[in-house]
């Protein structure tokens, strides 16, 4: 039997990994993956809390919504990245600096 604490530890590790990816990586695709990690950490939390703390379906339904919305967000994000790549021929975040004076 896996305990609630282990679920929470894993989701926290995922969350920290996501934040670290956003801070450290300069590749925009990798940054989008970082966002996915953060969203998956919260989805895991919702599912785990539903199993151990309360037994209604709220948390499970929320996890499903998170999966759908993460897909929508990733597709829009990738679309914008493709546009950016066509104009700038780069997916390095440091190349997105024309707007900072």
């Amino acid at each position: 039997m896996i305990s609630l604490a282990s679920y929470l530890a894993i989701s926290f590790a995922l969350f920290v990994c996501g934040i670290l990816v956003m801070i450290a990586r300069k590749n925009i695709i990798a940054m989008l993956l970082g966002i996915e990690l953060i969203l998956n950490a919260s989805a895991l939390n919702f599912a785990a809390y539903t199993k151990f703390v309360n037994n209604n379906l709220d948390g499970h339904i929320l996890s499903l919504f998170i999966i759908v919305i993460a897909a929508a967000e990733a597709s829009v994000g990738l679309g914008i990245v493709i546009r950016f790549f066509q104009l700038r021929e780069s997916i390095h975040i440091d190349d997105a600096a024309t707007l900072q004076n």
Partner: protein, 488 residues
């Protein structure tokens, strides 16, 4: 159960009308895309749709607050007023887009479709009553906004704005969701009903988990209203996006975020608890920081749009100061501030956009000598700038006075003093435009095509509330007073 759902649809007509409008616009665009009449049909359909939504909202306003769809949404006078403001802001941005040269002619329909979508998201957020609806509202608002920011497909700055918006937005809504998930774990439900009492019964360990969760949750909302330190995206996105889109961003997502923040504050923190103390402290620090950083950064800008972006950040800070009180007086002040903020923002962006269309950029120098060529427009811009500073007898003064008055009545003297000092700082950069318009000689004698008779009339009509609300503010104050929050 099913009959209840059907009965609830009656309170949900404004949002449904917008959905119908969005689908209708897509169908019109698909049917007539190569036709000359396309633009006319789109214009008429949007006007009818938005006016019908406004009428449905007015009809909803007088009715009592009610929780619909199994308590997942609340339709109360407060959310209805906020939705009305958002619809007016969308209408303003839509009319600006119809003659602006900053959006390609072929993409104007796309702008309207996306704007209506964002408006639906804002409405969901304004009446959300559980965690799922809050998250759905934030994401509906955000995902469509990313596309809007990068609407100028072949412009590097526009795609960069969209990219930055998407990356910042994705992270901050993810962080907010992580906070929500721990809140769900501690409270055991995603519904907000009866939360104020439940919070008082928690033990110490649970409160220790809830406090950071609320801070994480604030990241998501704070990003939407561009509160410091989550404001970094705002100047870049506002400058890079086409001007009608910027106008839209300055009104709808910001007010939607503010209304969600007001509702969460009023649901969770009305009863005395350690969390309430922590939240008030967080709000005070954030409000003071947001006002100060926004105003100080605005001083040295060269682009008017960037200056207006920082000014809108500082206005969000002032609205957050009204939240510190957590009572109906504070909510009233915030609602009144929202109403005046919309009109001031719209006028400032209209004139900036028209000047920018003529010269191709929005540097301060482009306003030189505007008073000699278009005295009427220069007067309108001056009035708006004075109102944004908060000079009597204009609307901005009454709005700021309300918030200061509310702060003083609850003895938050330090925050009131910071607010007044910030108004003094803001005079510096708002008056810069007035000085350039009147005291500098004009660059050229060219006519600006955007200032045709009809557009001047629209600008005057938008400035009129700034005057009227400054003098006859009691009636609107009655409206804001009636905007009671219903909690269930």
């Amino acid at each position: 159960m099913y009959l209840n759902y059907l009965a609830n649809v009656g309170r949900y007509i404004p949002e449904l009308l917008l959905v119908v409008l969005m689908v209708g616009l897509i169908l019109i665009e698909a049917t007539y895309s190569n036709d000359e009449k396309n633009k006319k049909y789109i214009f008429i359909a949007t006007c009818i749709g938005l006016v019908a939504t406004l009428a449905a909202l007015i009809a909803n306003f007088s009715a009592k607050g009610e929780a619909i769809f199994s308590n997942s949404m609340i339709i109360d006078p407060f959310s209805t007023v906020m939705k009305m403001i958002m619809v007016i802001g969308t209408f303003g941005a839509f009319y600006l887009s119809s003659f602006s040269k900053d959006i390609y002619e072929s993409l104007k329909t796309e702008f309207i479709i996306l704007a209506v979508g964002v408006l639906i998201g804002g409405m969901i957020l304004a009446s959300a009553n559980n965690m799922l609806m809050i998250y759905l509202g934030i994401e509906t608002l955000s995902i469509l906004s990313y596309v809007m920011a990068s609407l100028k497909k072949n412009d590097e700055r526009s795609s960069e704005a969209g990219l930055k918006y998407a990356l910042y937005g994705g992270v901050s809504s993810g962080i907010a969701l992580f906070g929500l998930s721990h809140m769900f774990g501690v409270l055991g439900t995603i519904q907000f009903a009866g939360m104020a009492e439940m919070i008082t019964k928690l033990d110490k360990a649970q409160i220790m988990i809830l406090m950071p969760s609320f801070i994480l949750f604030f990241v998501g909302i704070g990003y939407k209203i561009a509160s410091v330190p989550f404001h970094m995206w705002a100047p870049d996105v506002y400058e890079g996006s086409p001007t009608p889109v910027t106008t839209f961003f300055a009104v709808v997502p910001k007010l939607a975020g503010i209304s969600a923040l007001v509702r969460v504050t009023m649901i969770f923190f009305t009863v005395q608890s350690p969390l309430r103390v922590g939240w008030i402290g967080l709000m005070m620090v954030m409000a003071a920081l947001t006002m100060t950083v926004g105003n100080v950064s605005a001083i040295n800008q060269k682009s008017v749009k960037r200056m207006l972006a920082y000014s809108s950040i500082s206005h969000a800070g002032i609205m957050m100061a009204g939240l510190v009180l957590i009572n109906q007086i504070g909510v009233r002040a915030v609602v009144f501030y929202g109403i005046t903020y919309v009109f001031m923002t719209l006028v400032a962006f209209y004139i900036t956009s028209i000047v920018q269309d003529k010269y191709g950029n929005d540097h301060f120098d482009r306003f030189q000598g505007l008073a000699y060529r278009y005295p009427f427009m220069a007067v309108m811009m001056t009035v708006t700038m004075f109102s944004l500073i908060g000079l009597p007898p204009l609307a901005g003064f009454v709005a700021k006075w309300n918030i200061i008055n509310a702060l003083l009545s609850s003895r938050y003297y330090s925050l009131a003093i910071i607010l007044v000092l910030n108004s003094a700082v803001s005079a510096f950069y708002y008056l810069k435009i007035v000085r350039l318009m009147t005291l500098k000689t004009q660059e050229s004698n060219e006519t600006i095509e955007g200032f045709g008779f009809l557009n001047q009339l629209v600008v005057v009509a938008l400035t009129a509330p700034v005057f009227v609300l400054g003098i006859f503010w009691e009636s609107v104050m009655g409206l804001a007073e009636g905007a009671k929050i219903f909690i269930k």
